[in-house]
Symmetry: C2
Subunit: 231 residues, 2 copies
DNA sequence: CGGGATATTGATTGATTTCAATGTGAGTGG
DNA sequence: CCACTCACATTGAAATCAATCAATATCCCG
């Protein structure tokens, strides 16, 4: 891996600032630039819960290293993953006092933890901070809307391709996607079964659209084919 | 359609005082309490576009009467409806300068229109207003997450029941749901076809879970049956 | 009282789920 | 270092459910 550590004080603007999932946002000021100043870095082991749905929202989190999933358990017992968080992403931010979903480390991870009350106090005093918190929530909203569009798509191929293109956009290396999450995680994100995800991967490989380099790596071989399949 | 009643391309900001209906949701302080003070009420005719995806986000809107749908057109040409807005609901609020989706009146509607820049100025001066804007976005986020959960559900019955329970919660009359939107609208919201929505309605009626009183009214006959079907 | 839009209902098809078996790979301990 | 093992992934066959294609039926709206 290249440079996993991204706790830069003033992050040098790489190609694109993927502070969140915001791929559309122009690189304005980092909405989460204050995080490293007032937070402590904490390690979470693979599959460990960081917070649970319904618990008091005492802290806000930023991924330094690793990967996090947030999810709800549905009435029928199935798990809907709301988002995957990669280094640089903020999660667990709520306007209310309760977490509306659970969060778990997908792999061993390093996370900056900030007291929510501290951020709120700051926001009350500084309009800039308030604006930043709002922007973070709006970026989450944008991601949720993108996911809604993906779930609205009917075919499994379309959903999986959407997922791959999203991960590609957020991934550092061009065309090479490292997947920290399992097929089941992907399935629970896309509203499919793990078998369908697996089959669709091999299907895409047979189309020469991607190449599977082990179960957890995907190489994009033909982006325009993928984009066509997405439509 | 009939009247191209898109008057108010550029609504003048007359200070119009107007009573507003509260959301049937969290009864905390009204995040949109300032709206009626600085906005003008504008009528939009059925099926008329209020703003389009990609257009500058100059205004923020609050429904007084009628119903609004927001949607994206997907790559494959299908339409994904993101939300239905009923009296009391705010829509069109963005942190950025661009609308990320389109909005149309479902039926003839009355909408309060507020200049976004005015709200932003206010937010810069008053932490309370900033907080309210943030809360509005967070409420939208919560709704999007609920919709993700609904779309993650696999069966058509589960999706339609989720929709009915959502509409029931937002509807004034107990057990009676007036649907301003068409079967196609519902289908585009739930990621189904209109035929499946229609069939599922009649299916639920045969189960004595609901009663269809004309195409645009649903009476909940057995809530616990519905909740069981939802699981 | 039309008449066009909207909704229901039917028959068929096809994709995804489900159930089931096999394959693979990373980590461990002998 | 290799064999073992367990979790994860792939592959197969069958069943199921929603999409599609198609034909009425109903509801408004003028």
């Amino acid at each position: 891996m290249s440079a996993p550590l991204k706790l830069a004080q003033r992050p040098e603007n790489k190609t694109v600032s993927h502070a969140f999932h915001g791929r559309h946002q122009a690189p304005t000021a980092q909405p989460d630039a204050d995080f490293h100043l007032i937070g402590a870095t904490v390690p979470y082991a693979r599959n460990v819960e960081i917070f649970g749905e319904g618990e008091p929202a005492e802290y806000v989190y930023k991924v330094i290293e690793g990967a996090i999933r947030t999810y709800n358990i549905l009435d029928d017992g199935r798990r809907q993953i709301g988002a995957f968080y990669l280094p640089g992403d903020v999660f667990g931010l709520e306007t209310g006092t309760i977490h509306r979903y659970s969060a778990e480390a997908i792999v061993n991870s390093q996370v900056i933890v900030v007291k929510r009350s501290k951020l709120l106090d700051l926001a009350n005093r500084e309009a800039r901070v308030a604006r930043n918190l709002w922007t973070l929530t709006a970026q989450e909203l944008q991601h949720s809307r993108d996911l809604i569009s993906t779930l609205g798509k009917k075919s499994a191929v379309q959903r999986v391709v959407s997922f791959l293109l999203e991960m590609d956009e957020r991934s550092a290396a061009r065309d090479l996607i490292r997947l920290p999450m399992s097929r089941q995680d992907i399935a629970d994100y896309l509203g499919l079964t793990l078998e369908t995800v697996s089959r669709t991967f091999t299907h895409l490989e047979h189309q020469d659209a991607i190449e599977l380099a082990g179960a957890r790596s995907v190489i994009l071989r033909n982006r325009s084919t993928l984009r066509n399949l997405n439509a």
